[in-house]
């Protein structure tokens, strides 16, 4: 039987400057009907380049060597007309983050119908087309009325469903899913993965899934292949690869995502909370809370003057020398709560206090507070001004607070503390000259330079690669060990909470539904919602060694 996809010694390079930059080197893989293959790797490893080469969608500057056989035909040798006929009808793609992959000014129904009309030999009557779109939407479990919606009117999960409906439209023999669940939260992710898996299983379609998240792949695919720096370093059955990885990079990928409930995958142990506690800096409120919220409620008014409760009646404490995780799905109000804790929003009811004193909402008081409570954002690329050097980025906080004594020395100390060593080497660099992990360290150094007591970190590692995540998390733990720095981590990732937090609060629809020590909440949850969240986490069945 001819494999649906057969790649033989594929190498891809990009013309850049005067020379060639290798992106993919000698990759061979094949996929038969009904099979599922997961392609894992970090950003920049060449996995997306490889996937796009299947339909010859690479930019003009790319040069492909080797053979890509789609249904036995060499894609590289097809005429443009032949290639267009194969695109979508032979193999379709579920692109990442469907917001940008869908045309914003056309309805989703229209976009789903487009390839059907295009690849039919004769004109398809409108009624037939509408019926087919309705059928596809039904298959991806979207209400049929949504066909008249525009992409921005749908949630991230719904857009991804539209992409899947679109991919199924012409009944291709291969579906390529490029990071199909990145940027979706855990519950939606599991729904989308189930849908994808069922859709292909029902039709005997081959599925190639690309992701940086090994647990996602292990849950969707029968076989896995791991790419590293353009090469295929390991491949095999999913269970085998996950339980006993051979290549060190596979091992790094597998351990980057902790297993909730597995004590060995926690980074924080019992003996960890020492250093800071030995040298208490005092001043905490009677219950030991540095930063606390009492009965905080926040609501928004949208364009139509409809008030929406984002946070209602939440109590939360961040104590000295403690890492607290605030966990919830997108839209649960966790970011709004964090903004309120930072004094960036005024609560409608309730209040925030720091060291037992209510938070000022004007001028000097707020400024003094902000020195002590610093924010670290999700995306370091967006958080850093591209025209500022590392030195300027870190020193900015000091300058804002008019505190410029020993500026240079303190900036260096902060960089060292954020483990950017030697600091001298980084001072004059610009953000684009740094890796993602280094950028996030610069952001953290920018917070540390003000010598804060609490860090509020909003998804601090979500945009980082698997192997870098671990390093940044270690840094947060190290800061607590050495400086007694408390952290409030806001995340949708239960694994992250499991790996570094002491206490966890689970938020749903603006309310904290469950809270307590991580071991207790995440191993024996009481609230239904926490249970549902845990059930949605893709599980890596890994033998603990």
């Amino acid at each position: 039987m001819t494999p649906v996809l057969d790649m033989r010694d594929v190498s891809i390079s990009y013309r850049a400057g005067g020379g060639l930059r290798r992106a993919v080197t000698d990759v061979s893989l094949s996929l038969e009907a009904g099979q599922t293959l997961g392609l894992a790797g970090e950003s920049g490893c060449g996995k997306t380049t490889l996937a796009l080469s299947v339909l010859r969608l690479l930019p003009r500057s790319a040069r492909v060597e080797g053979e890509v056989l789609l249904g036995g035909r060499d894609v590289g040798k097809l005429t443009w007309g032949g290639l267009r006929a194969v695109r979508w009808a032979g193999a379709s793609v579920v692109f990442q983050g469907a917001m940008h992959a869908l045309n914003p000014v056309r309805t989703v129904g229209d976009q789903i119908a487009e390839p059907i009309r295009l690849h039919s030999a004769e004109r398809v009557p409108t009624a037939v087309l509408r019926a087919r779109v309705a059928e596809l939407l039904e298959q991806v479990e979207l209400p049929v009325e949504r066909r008249d919606a525009y992409p921005h009117e749908l949630s991230g999960g719904q857009r991804q469903r539209v992409m899947i409906a679109m991919a199924l439209a012409c009944e291709p023999s291969l579906i390529i899913a490029d990071e199909p669940t990145t940027a979706l939260d855990v519950v939606v992710q599991s729904q989308v993965l189930t849908l994808l898996r069922n859709s292909v299983a029902r039709r005997d379609v081959a599925l190639l899934v690309i992701s940086h998240d090994l647990s996602v792949l292990a849950n969707t695919c029968g076989r896995l292949a791991v790419m590293y720096q353009g090469e295929l370093v390991e491949r095999g059955r999913a269970e085998r690869l996950v339980t006993s990885p051979e290549h060190r990079h596979t091992r790094a990928l597998a351990t980057a995502f902790p297993i909730v409930g597995d004590v060995s995958s926690r980074r924080v142990g019992e003996g960890e909370r020492s250093g800071g506690a030995d040298t208490p800096r005092g001043g905490a409120a009677s219950n030991g809370a540095l930063l606390s919220a009492r009965g905080v409620s926040v609501s928004f008014t949208d364009g139509a003057r409809i008030r929406t409760r984002a946070v209602s009646g939440v109590d939360l404490d961040v104590c000295e020398d403690e890492i607290v995780a605030l966990v919830g799905q997108s839209g649960s109000g966790k970011t709004t709560l964090a903004r309120t804790l930072l004094g960036l929003r005024r609560p409608d009811a309730g209040g925030v206090s720091y060291l037992g004193a209510p938070l000022a909402h004007t001028g000097g008081g707020l400024r003094a507070f902000r020195r002590r409570v610093q924010l670290v954002l999700q995306d370091p690329t967006g958080a850093l001004n591209p025209r500022h050097t590392v030195y300027e980025a870190v020193a900015e906080g000091l300058r804002v607070h008019g505190d410029v004594v020993n500026e240079g020395e303190r900036v260096r100390a902060a960089l060292e503390a954020a483990e950017l060593r030697p600091a001298e080497e980084f001072l004059g660099r610009f953000p684009h000259e740094l890796s993602g992990g280094q950028r996030q360290r610069v952001v953290i150094a920018g917070a540390l330079v003000l010598d804060p007591r609490v860090l509020v970190a909003d998804e601090p590692v979500a945009s980082l690669d698997a192997t870098v995540r671990g390093e940044v998390l270690e840094l947060l733990l190290g800061l607590r060990r050495e400086r007694g720095l408390s952290t409030l981590v806001i995340t949708h990732d239960l694994g992250l909470a499991w790996s570094i937090a002491d206490r966890v609060a689970v938020m749903r629809a603006g309310e904290v539904v469950e809270r307590g020590p991580v071991e207790q909440v995440l191993t024996s949850p009481e609230h239904e919602y926490t249970k549902a969240l845990l059930a949605a986490v893709p599980v890596l069945t890994r033998t603990v060694t």
């Binding site: 796009l52 793609v93 045309n103 000014v105 921005h152 679109m166 139509a304 997108s330």
Partner: protein, 344 residues
């Protein structure tokens, strides 16, 4: 925004109709307010102009001081400024724009006569310039850095930076008067010839013949900005992922462009086009003057020389009003074109 983005529940459909009405009312109200400011500004702006209307009008004949004073009294120029302004506003409310000093006729009537030719000239030129600019901009962006791109942008920018009257005069000399053995191909002035045979078709052809040179001048000067905006906004869209989706679907390159890229790239261009539709009316002043086109521009030019205050105020209100109306229209149209604006 980020808080609700990924929520996977079915959203309640927004109550559309009242919000649209509210939006339209808001925009119209804003437009009316701008228009009021224009009226006030126009009145005082022209009072600051140098030159004494009474003197200019009596330049050719010797007049006594009494006669001048009488003239000023007739125009109300001897009144304090605030009284003049009050009278002006009162007249405006009654729909009267005053009487022209030079023509001795109601300003509204004069403007009414001249607005037709201007709309004809400016409308034709803008439609042509928009079509040409959008087409060229699309071509230039799609083959970014190619020869079409280089030619279109350099020629377009050169013409855009050339003074309109100078280009007009050059064209007038070359194709109106004629150079060397080449006779003048087009009429040099006005909108129609005196000796046109009766009938509709000959008259239309005659006007069309007169229209060519001023129209070409305007198109040459203004098409570049439509082209540049279209080019840059299409360039921005070209990196977007939905185009990769469109290509992956197997669409031909021209369909990817027409169906997916251009509709998105058109959005910023629409605002510019409509803003420009308003501006072009006033921009035609130089072209109308060079080619003696009997439109609002020429009327404004004549009024400025006196200065014929009521006439200037009238044309100013009409010109500025057209910018405002077009702006409001652009916002309303944008809402139709971009579903994202509709929702917010």
């Amino acid at each position: 925004m980020t808080d609700t983005r990924d929520r996977d529940d079915v959203r309640r459909p927004p109550a559309r109709a009242p919000r649209i009405l509210g939006f339209v009312a808001l925009k119209l109200g804003g437009g009316a307010l701008s228009l009021l400011l224009v009226v006030v500004l126009g009145f005082f702006l022209f009072r600051v102009l140098p030159g004494d209307p009474a003197r200019t009008m009596t330049r050719s004949a010797p007049v006594s001081a009494e006669q001048l004073a009488a003239l000023r009294h007739r125009f109300g120029l001897d009144q304090p400024l605030y009284v003049q302004f009050r009278d002006f506003l009162g007249n405006l409310v009654r729909g009267e724009l005053g009487t022209s000093y030079t023509y001795n006729r109601p300003v509204a009537e004069l403007i009414g006569e001249r607005i037709g030719p201007t709309v004809l000239l400016v409308g034709t030129a803008t439609v042509l310039a928009v079509l040409l600019g959008l087409w060229m901009g699309t071509r230039a962006a799609w083959r970014h850095g190619g020869s079409a791109d280089r030619w279109f942008t350099s020629v377009g920018l050169t013409l855009w930076s050339v003074p309109t009257f100078w280009l007009g005069l050059l064209l007038l000399m070359a194709f109106g008067v004629g150079v060397g053995p080449m006779p003048g191909l087009f009429p040099v002035a006005g909108m129609s010839s005196p000796d046109v045979p009766p009938g509709v078709l000959p008259r239309v052809l005659d006007v069309g013949h007169h229209l060519v040179l001023p129209c070409v001048t305007l198109v040459a000067v203004i098409h570049a900005q439509f082209m540049m905006v279209m080019r840059s906004s299409l360039l921005e869209e070209m990196g977007e992922e939905y185009l990769t989706t469109a290509r992956a679907k197997g669409l031909r390159e021209d369909l990817v462009r027409r169906r997916h890229a251009v509709p998105n790239a058109l959005l910023p261009t629409v605002t510019l086009i409509f803003l420009h539709l308003g501006l072009v009316v006033s921009g035609a002043i130089t072209v109308e003057t060079v080619f003696s086109w009997p439109g609002l521009g020429l009327l404004t030019y004549e009024a400025l020389r006196v200065p014929d205050l009521p006439l200037l105020q009238g044309t100013f209100i009409v010109l500025a009003g057209s910018v405002i109306v077009m702006n409001v229209l652009a916002e309303l149209l944008y809402r139709v074109l971009d579903p994202r604006v509709r929702a917010s």
